[in-house]
């Protein structure tokens, strides 16, 4: 074994990660010592200059509230906010901009569906189906609503590779859940769920589908029309946009039939003390002043992503993942958790000699930013019999030297903790 061997030269299929990197101020050379190997992209992605500038331009140049003013900068803000909605709609393949509700992030999107879609149609004895892959944000909102009425949450299992077992899913769909809530990509393992198939199976059983897409959109193009799902939840910050902004795609006829999520300004048609009528979607679900700057920054992130060859980027990420997987697999006492045939650049692992938090601390000293913990997926950790893992997660701007730093750090862990 050659622990410190450099990566084999990776085939760069028309993708220049170094050029992409140059657009991110945090990766400017000399910023960190040791150099930052940012492998915590599943937690949040870094921001390109174009996103930061779009937010800055808004605050400095034409800042105003939305949907309220008639003065010129208010009109410009309105236009920018609605243009961002259009961009997100186009990006996700939604037929109409009013199928996109701006929210704080995927978590709020799922809570909105729990409250306004699920709750009114849920009764005692009902159940909601999730998968074992889910992040807590795609478990707990359903549990909260279920507890209110005496319903329950059930889970469809995954196999030892971390893949959803479709035969088991079919059986559970036949039991008549009121909703299937499933992730597109596992945040903890990187498994990609065959969503079009899953949606088809659910719809054949008459079960609506809400998808947690937070981990999918940074890696590949998503087309909600093609997938056929009923709701799709995303976060801006994971796809190179600002924090505090995200989007819920919802099929128009579903959104139109749903009661409001929160009450307040903007979401009404008319208010009296006797009776309030609500605005149509998406405004109905956007009470109060929204995160205007976030939405504009999110729109800029979508524009930026649209200019990237995402298919080439996916090949690049896959090469980094394959290299890291091969080199970490060769480390004695290291076990990779999550070996799905189809996965994005997420590498979760445990080491015999050291707890994930100690691994994370040693890697941090090498400049390698990873996540150590249960990744807000405790049921999944339990499924694999580990309390936690160390997770390295890649994005399109990662380079082979990031993998080198990760491998070097893992060998340092063995130096310190190995016997």
């Amino acid at each position: 074994m050659q622990p410190l061997a450099q990566s084999q030269s990776l085939p760069e299929v028309g993708f220049d990660a170094a050029a992409v990197r140059a657009g991110f101020p945090i990766f400017a050379p000399g910023r960190f010592e040791p150099p930052l190997a940012y492998l915590d992209n599943a937690a949040s992605a870094q921001k390109p200059t174009v996103v930061l500038e779009a937010v800055d331009r808004f605050y400095r140049g034409y800042y105003s509230n939305v949907h309220r003013g008639i003065h010129p900068i208010a009109a410009r803000t309105d236009a920018a906010y609605e243009a961002a909605r259009r961009k997100v709609a186009d990006w996700l393949g939604a037929a109409r901009a009013d199928e996109i509700v701006f929210v704080r992030g995927a978590t709020e999107a799922l809570n909105l569906v729990a409250r306004s879609f699920l709750r009114p149609r849920l009764a005692a004895g009902d159940h909601v189906l999730v998968s074992e892959l889910e992040h807590h944000s795609n478990i707990v909102p359903w549990q909260i609503v279920c507890e209110e009425v005496g319903a329950e949450v059930r889970a469809a299992p995954v196999n030892d590779r971390g893949e959803l077992i479709l035969e088991e899913l079919a059986q559970r769909l036949a039991a008549g859940p009121k909703l299937l809530a499933v992730t597109h990509v596992s945040n903890a393992l990187g498994s990609v769920v065959p969503l079009a198939t899953v949606v088809e199976m659910a719809h054949a059983a008459g079960v609506p589908v809400v998808v947690d897409g937070a981990q999918a959109v940074p890696h590949f193009r998503v087309d909600v029309a093609e997938l056929g799902c009923d709701f799709y939840a995303v976060s801006g910050h994971k796809m190179f946009g600002p924090t505090g902004i995200g989007a819920l795609y919802g099929r128009r006829e579903l959104l139109a039939a749903m009661p409001p999520y929160q009450g307040g300004g903007s979401m009404i048609r008319s208010v009296s003390f006797e009776k309030t009528t609500y605005a149509p979607p998406p405004t109905r679900f956007e009470a109060g002043t929204p995160h205007v700057a976030g939405a504009i920054g999110y729109g800029a992130a979508v524009d930026w992503l649209a200019g990237v060859d995402l298919e080439a980027a996916a090949v690049h990420e896959a090469a980094l993942l394959a290299d890291a997987t091969a080199r970490l697999s060769a480390v004695p006492g290291l076990r990779i958790i999550g070996t799905a045939a189809h996965k994005v650049g997420v590498l979760s692992f445990v080491m015999d000699c050291a707890h994930p938090h100690d691994v994370g601390t040693v890697l941090a000293a090498e400049g390698v930013a990873v996540r150590a913990g249960h990744h807000c997926a405790e049921p999944l950790m339990r499924r694999f019999g580990v309390p936690a893992t160390t997770r390295a997660s890649f994005a399109l701007y990662n380079v082979p030297s990031d993998v080198d730093a990760l491998v070097r750090g893992v060998h340092k862990v063995r130096e310190i903790f190995g016997r």
Partner: protein
């Protein structure tokens, strides 16, 4: 790297690999469970306290090297001492971990190996989980079992 060696001193590695007083205290009359929900560390401390004296103390659970070693060294440090002495030791230990200039801390014995944790603020909770759990068990009184959390 020098900071890492300061953090993971040999005594800490030794106690994390072979924790002392691991299990349950015989005829225990105090106990508490401690959780660090952010990282999933969980442990349980049990004690036999008679006449204000910690006659026996043990812990069980799982966690990182820092939390396991801290729990192990804690049991050695407080066994055979009075409850008041144990609480006072916790106070001094906490200052060692968290204060830039902790001043005169007196003799902390082997617990001084944790001084390196000060350079890793996010790991302070790992080192204090066992102590918070001990504190909860002592505060609870006889035949009680309580739960504490770092959050």
């Amino acid at each position: 790297m020098s900071d890492l060696r300061e953090l993971y001193q040999e005594v800490i590695l030794d106690h994390s690999r072979q924790p002392r007083n691991f299990g349950a205290a015989a005829e225990a009359n105090r106990g508490a469970r401690g959780d660090n929900p952010l990282c999933g560390d969980q442990l349980r401390v049990s004690l036999r306290v008679r006449g204000g004296m910690v006659e026996d103390v043990a812990f069980e659970g799982s966690g990182c090297a820092i939390s396991m070693a801290s729990a192990s060294l804690m049991t050695q440090a407080v066994k055979g001492h009075t409850v008041a002495e144990a609480e006072e030791l916790f106070e001094r230990f906490h200052r060692l971990l968290t204060e830039e200039e902790p001043g005169e801390l007196g003799d902390l014995g082997k617990l001084e190996v944790f001084s390196g944790v000060r350079e890793f603020p996010i790991r302070v909770k790992c080192a204090t989980l066992a102590w918070h759990t001990l504190h909860a068990a002592l505060a609870r009184g006889d035949d009680g079992e309580v739960e504490v959390s770092t959050e």
